[in-house]
């Protein structure tokens, strides 16, 4: 018995000492994301951080989840007060869900405010509430239009001359006449990326600044009428698989059956990863406008990385986040690994980085994506983000777009019903 006791005592001592020495060990930062591509970026930045901060070593423990599941788990963990990670990626459309009640994310003002002059402010404003910033975006997400240059040329269309949506429609007719089996454009019946920028150009949005749903508006009707006309006349196809992230759509785009799509800048890596046959054929361009003088782009989507109130070492986690998302080296890495348009705009003009011939995005595209970006640099507006937005997006994705593109119901009726639905379903 005595022997056993002595052994136990010895073990306690050893474990106790282990804990005492643990301070020299790197601090573990638990990180959740819904996009495993993001992990490569953070891992690279963690290595860089450890090289620069020998006294504040970190060990990143990353876990990727499916999109919905990650946000659900996070919501449940924050609600329960236990089980949440230190650092987490929250998608733009989901962010408002985490801005309710006592906010369970930590304000990032002390790292964001010193950098405000160097970054696109809108990309932190969209994750703020009552003057506190709770998330930092990966990218600006500028909306652009992508053309399949080869297809345009085969129909004798010069895509650079398309300045307005009217000209775009005329080009569509020319294209269709030359390629009856193919489509000029693609629209989504279950997603909003293809039409939100068109709406923003007119000054419209999904919600207004006061947080009201703005589905039933003349701007929305105008955009949807235009797209519906394209679909009904056979100029546009409703994306197979219902949206621009479906494998069926990738296949159709990849085989060269669609000439152009409106998507944000971050769609770049979908091209390189899922549509390899289009290498050397894809160019980006500023969006056409309805009337001359309209702003030609809008910041779309995004992922706000946030620090939760369950973080073990909030200061260190915040410092690391700032290093990843706000620093110059972070911004450069974002472009190099993920192909994003970094929120730190000075990088856009660094030719050695953006035109690096070894970069896989530069190699893939027929024109340099940053050339487009620099053209629209001062025209990128922001959308409103508030607690109403998740509901409005739900309504758009689940009812409105499918009805507009697949049925003959009048757009006026669809929109007024949807407006009422969204208001009735608001949290």
């Amino acid at each position: 018995m005595k022997k056993v006791l002595a052994l136990l005592l010895a073990m306690t001592l050893v474990i106790g000492c282990g804990a005492a020495f643990a301070d020299a060990e790197p601090t573990e930062i638990e990180f959740w994301t819904f996009q495993d591509l993001h992990i490569a970026f953070y891992e690279a930045m963690a290595e860089e951080w450890n090289a620069q901060n020998p006294d504040r070593q970190i060990k990143l423990k990353s876990t990727p989840f499916p999109f919905e599941e990650m946000h659900e788990n996070l919501g449940n963990a924050l609600m329960a007060g236990t089980g949440a990670p230190d650092l987490v990626d929250i998608e733009f459309g989901k962010f408002a869900n985490f801005m309710k009640g006592d906010i369970q994310l930590l304000p990032l003002n002390d790292i964001v405010e010193p950098e405000l002059d160097n970054i696109v402010k809108a990309r932190v404003d969209i994750y703020s509430k009552d003057g506190n910033y709770y998330g930092i975006c990966f990218h600006v997400g500028a909306a652009v239009i992508y053309y399949n240059k080869e297809l345009c040329e085969s129909a004798g269309i010069d895509y650079t001359s398309i300045q307005t949506w009217d000209q775009y429609y005329e080009a569509a007719k020319t294209f269709k006449a030359a390629n009856p089996e193919k489509y000029w454009m693609s629209v989504e019946s279950s997603d909003i990326w293809h039409m939100w920028p068109q709406l923003a150009e007119l000054g419209g949005d999904m919600t207004d600044a006061e947080g009201n749903a703005t589905i039933n508006t003349p701007e929305m009707a105008k955009v949807l009428e235009y797209n519906r006309k394209m679909v009904k006349e056979g100029l546009a196809v409703v994306a197979p698989g219902t949206y621009h992230h479906a494998p069926e759509f990738y296949a159709m785009m990849n085989e060269g059956s669609i000439a152009s799509i409106v998507m944000p800048f971050w769609y770049i890596d979908r091209f390189t990863d899922y549509m390899p046959d289009l290498a050397g054929k894809i160019v980006s361009a500023p969006l056409p406008v309805w009337e001359a003088g309209e702003k030609r782009s809008v910041g779309q989507g995004g992922t706000g990385t946030a620090v939760t109130n369950q973080a073990d070492d909030p200061e260190l986690t915040k410092a690391f986040l700032g290093f990843c998302k706000l620093s110059k080296e972070g911004g450069i890495k974002l472009w190099q690994t993920l192909g994003f348009d970094p929120i730190r705009t000075e990088i856009w003009a660094m030719e050695d980085i953006t035109h690096d011939p070894e970069n896989r995005f530069v190699k893939y595209y027929a024109s340099n994506p940053f050339d487009t970006l620099l053209q629209i640099k001062d025209e990128i507006v922001a959308v409103n983000n508030n607690e109403m937005l998740p509901t409005v997006l739900d309504t758009m994705k689940s009812v409105v777009l499918q009805k507009v593109y697949e049925t003959d119901e009048s757009i006026e009726d669809i929109l007024s019903a949807a407006q009422a639905d969204a208001e009735a379903e608001a949290f």
């Binding site: 009640g101 019946s189 279950s190 479906a246 998740p390 697949e406 009735a424 379903e425 949290f427």
Partner: protein, 297 residues
Amino acid sequence: MRRLKSLLYSQRLAPYVFIAPFVIVFLVFFLYPIASTIIMSFQRVVPGQTSFIGIDNYRKMWNNSFLTALKNSAVYMVCTCVILIPVPMVLAVMLNSKKMPAKGFFRSMLFLPALVCVVVAGITFRLIFGERPGALMNSLLAAFGAEPVKWLGGPVRWTTMFALVILCCWRWMGVNTMYYLSALQSIPEDLYESAELDGAGAWQRFRHISVPLVRPTTIYVLTISIYGGLAMFVESRMLFANTEVGNQALTIVGYLYRVGIRKMNYGLGSAIGIFLLVLTLAVNLIQLILTGFFRKE
């Protein structure tokens, strides 16, 4: 020590000890969640600021999405019940017949789909019902000279429902057939023999011996089918790969998941859950009364 021994061998205590695992599991994993769901259905649940809001959640529930969900679930439930009771019954009679060749093979083949994970099945069916001309269903149509159909999220709703019902039938046909098979095997052979001697044909034997004698199984299958139909969720989610196009595959549980989990409106989600519980209980109660389950023999 003796006290402890008498406690361990106590006949009075033993039954409670034996049922304790069930009681504990029931209390922790059923009663507590149900009770807290009922409470949450009257609350606005947000971190740190949860408050009672009366019956607001129940009032808010009656919106168009919910009504669509209710309709979809009801149609799905009726379709699956109408198909998944008579057809398995006939299949079971065939499998039970002495004249049937390769019985064992057909039995295991029929049961196989039930063992396939719903997620895998959903993805496979999504590919089968793909909208491009090369997808399986559309190439079948093409063989008959028909145009390709946009099955999921297309202009009409019934194609989606068709895909969902087919998926359900494929999955559960074998299970229901097994239920009926075991019921048929418990019917004494002499009943059929004496009926045959009296000149009853195959149809009459089926109609007047098999069908009435498997009634308890029919009631059981109907009860679980009603519950399964109203609570269907995973199939529609997998078939639609997380998109919600046109609310065509939105079910009651799908809507609960959308508002309760995805939009984190736990209060409203709870109210929908309670409604589903009451609805399922009510429909099954009516069904049990109509089928004479409570009638004294």
